[in-house]
């Protein structure tokens, strides 16, 4: 348990108002909002509840022991490119497995989606062979909740400087973080080329905020928990605030295997394994699933019954379908003087000039954002981050590390993923996890337009590095992905029960007291950086669900 104890405890037989499964980016927001609105809440989390005093900079141990993430040894996955291929046992994605979820170890990029992300298919036309569709809500519906996310969590940034920034009702609560050398180089070169770089919006507090310590620029954001509590994950914000209501119990080490129904087809609670492997059923009046875009569809598929033989809430057959990873490009440059990019947050400048590309002009659907960054801690840099054209061992490798580590920066492109029905999360009954449950099989192959979009972003990155007079420039190859960092789209939102899993209130079309809210709800992928949208959706869902409950309509 964590320092946040003692907290309100519920009995298994207590029929709490809401049982939330998954206490990460979205689940912890729902837990705070619903408990503040007067409801009794139990939030089950499969991972531990760590205190910031348990975080360290030991990059080997954090990764090797999966201290913050899903553990491939205990939770194996399989992968294939298409449904016709035989799936092979392989680590296929990473997600945060702890109270606070992936936002504990994320880089903290905090971008809003733009207006176009919600209405692009309607505006530009659907794309044959894809599930490209519009959302049932628009940017305007979500805007107040983006603002709420930024102010309640604590985001540093500068509004009003990017001509591509969508309309906002309030500026950021905190000034931008200090610019790093990568940001200076990127900004100067991009301006020369006529682009519009601006300070990166980051979920890291640049000054003391709501009793939390500000960032100390230690450089360990991506992949690590913040020992300062300056990274604005739910761990130092939503979670203690939910507990403080006296109506919310966070229950870590609770691995849910099934959502139970009554004879009328209503959810009555969920069965989970506790830390000792004992199974229990927590009762509730309504269930909200907020695991993530992989585990949410898995849980629904595992919860099949006579009433729902193809999986719970799956009358559309779309549970697990339309998985989107986003795409990433990495282009590097070497500079004469030391940048010392290992210090401070990873990203200080971004640009969104390529956010919405004209398919008629470029020949493919897509768009993306770009940032200047350095996400490499020493081991990562030496093993994977140094330019692939340099020697990889021996005296010349040592010399290269000596020269490159403090003088290298990267431009990273973040792009669209088209929703494809064949890209999916399914159950692989031939492989079991440590609890004896079927493993997740990931089927994934990038759409050709997503690959073309990446090649476009690499070309623009190279031009910017050339303009910046980088002494050496290189790019990692654009290849089809076989590993997901973002898990999106697998229980999509929509008005038509035949072509979506949940409605605009996040209520499943098939089960009236079952709600789904996390990355799985997204209809389109945005241009990377989905966390703020996932959290804004959770703030909005909390309002919608509260309204339904107060009207007695759940």
């Amino acid at each position: 348990m964590s320092a946040a104890s003692p907290q309100r405890k519920y009995k298994l037989a207590d029929q709490v108002d809401f049982l939330i499964i998954g206490c990460g980016a979205s689940g912890s927001v729902l837990a705070r909002e619903l408990s503040r609105n007067g409801f009794s809440v139990v939030a089950l989390e499969q991972g531990p509840w760590l205190d910031r005093k348990q975080f360290s900079h030991d990059e080997y141990r954090v990764a090797a022991q999966s201290l913050l993430t899903n553990n491939p040894q205990k939770q194996p996955t399989t992968f294939r490119k298409t449904p016709n291929d035989k799936a092979k046992k392989q680590s296929a994605f990473v997600y945060g497995r702890m109270v606070g979820g992936g936002t504990v170890h994320f880089t903290a990029n905090f971008w809003r989606f733009h207006e176009i992300d919600f209405i692009e298919a309607g505006k530009k036309g659907t794309i044959a062979g894809t599930g490209f569709a519009d959302w049932p809500i628009t940017y305007t519906d979500l805007e107040p909740y983006y603002t709420k996310a930024e102010w309640d969590l604590g985001v540093s940034g500068q509004a009003g400087v990017s001509p591509f920034d969508p309309p906002r009702s309030k500026p950021y609560p905190l000034p931008p973080m200090p610019v790093k050398s990568s940001g200076v180089i990127f900004e100067q070169a991009a301006r020369k080329l006529g682009y519009h770089p601006f300070p990166a919006p980051m979920a890291v507090i640049s000054q003391s905020y709501q009793g939390r310590l500000p960032c100390a620029h230690c450089g360990f954001c991506a992949g690590f928990g913040c020992e300062m509590g300056a990274k604005s994950s739910p761990l130092p914000t939503m979670v203690p605030q939910a507990v403080a209501t006296g109506r919310c119990e966070i229950r870590p080490h609770s691995y849910v295997r099934k959502i139970e129904l009554d004879s009328k087809g209503r959810a009555v609670g969920a069965v989970y394994f506790d830390e000792n492997g004992k199974q229990s059923l927590q009762h509730a009046k309504a269930v909200i699933v907020s695991c993530n875009g992989a585990e949410t569809p898995r849980l629904l598929l595992m919860s099949k019954s006579n009433q729902f033989p193809s999986g719970l809430a799956n009358s559309s057959g779309l549970v697990g379908k339309y998985l989107m990873f986003n795409t990433f490009t990495i282009t590097g440059g070497l500079f004469e003087h030391q940048l010392n990019e290992y210090k401070s947050i990873e990203v200080t400048r971004i640009l969104q000039d390529f956010y919405e590309l004209d398919a008629q002009k470029v020949g493919f659907y897509g768009g993306g954002g770009m940032d200047a960054r350095f996400v490499w801690t020493p081991i990562q840099f030496a093993a994977f981050g140094i330019s692939p054209h340099l020697p990889q061992w021996g005296s010349e490798y040592k010399k290269a590390l000596q020269k490159y580590f403090t003088r290298t920066m990267y431009l990273t492109g973040h792009g669209t993923s088209l929703p494809l029905e064949t890209n999916s999360i399914t159950l692989d009954e031939t492989v079991k996890d440590e609890w004896g449950l079927p493993a997740i099989c990931v089927t994934y192959k990038d759409h050709p337009d997503d690959l073309a979009n990446q090649r476009f972003l690499v070309a623009r990155s190279m031009e910017i590095l050339e303009t910046a007079k980088a002494l050496d420039r290189w790019s990692f190859p654009v290849e089809e992905q076989n590993y997901g960092f973002h898990l999106l789209g697998t229980c999509r939102m929509g008005n038509d029960p035949k072509s979506s899993v949940i409605n605009a209130e996040h209520r499943s079309h098939d089960v009236p007291n079952l709600f789904l809210c996390d990355g799985s709800s997204l209809v389109t992928s945005g241009r990377g950086q989905p966390t703020e949208t996932i959290q804004a959706l959770a703030f909005r869902a909390s309002d919608r669900i509260t309204a339904l409950a107060k009207k007695g309509e759940i």
Binding site: V184, P214, H217, C218, M228, H337, N340, K343, K398
Partner: protein, 196 residues
């Protein structure tokens, strides 16, 4: 730890990070103190995973990845003892994988020089030849990755002795920094100051 705390408090104060009321140097120091563990000294520890032959072969391999030349290498960083510790304590599930990789290295040594008894017994030029032949394999990747971890990992795990690896590449794990961080943002700060 009093000395360390005092040091951290002073560091925080001198960096000017305490401009917001309510944050004492003590609070700042405490936040970091727990996150940084003391270096682990593995000097003279008996091997728990490696056989003497495996240790000799791997030491030769690691010495080719990070040779001791005009700067210290894998040997000085205690890479072999780190790997022995890591496979015994941190990642026992990877013991078999690592042993298989060493086996592949030994087999390649025999292909490179049929008279060689082991990889360690090869002359340096032949070791390099054998490694080049293996370079694209998973086995080589495993051995190289652990060598990098032992050279550049947190000294709390026993490798990167005296921060040899970090010193080579120019990394520090100081837990606090204040701008300017590098040359280019420092130049910009100067320009802005002159303008003002």
């Amino acid at each position: 730890m009093t000395n360390r705390r005092t040091f951290l408090s002073q560091a925080a104060a001198s960096l000017g990070l305490l401009y917001v009321t309510g944050i004492t140097p003590e609070l700042f120091a405490q936040a970091h103190e727990h996150a940084k563990a003391a270096p682990r000294n593995l000097d003279g520890q008996p091997f728990r995973f490696f056989t003497p032959q495996q240790a000799a072969d791997y030491e030769a391999f690691a010495g080719q990845v990070f040779p001791t030349d005009d700067t210290p290498g894998a040997k000085e960083a205690n890479v072999v003892r780190f790997v022995d510790f890591a496979l015994s304590e941190i990642e026992p599930q990877n013991k078999e994988n690592f042993a298989n990789a060493l086996k592949a290295l030994g087999e390649q040594a025999k292909r490179t020089n049929p008279e060689a008894k082991s990889f360690a017994a090869l002359a340096s030029a032949q070791q390099i030849e054998a490694m080049k032949a293996l370079e694209k394999t998973d086995e080589f990747g495993t051995l190289r990755f652990y060598t990098i971890v032992g050279f550049l990992g947190d000294p709390a795990d026993g490798g990167n002795k005296d921060q040899i690896g970090w010193k080579l590449i120019g990394f520090k794990d100081d837990f606090y920094y204040a701008p300017p961080f590098g040359y280019y943002d420092e130049q910009l700060m100067k320009e802005q100051k002159e303008k003002a």
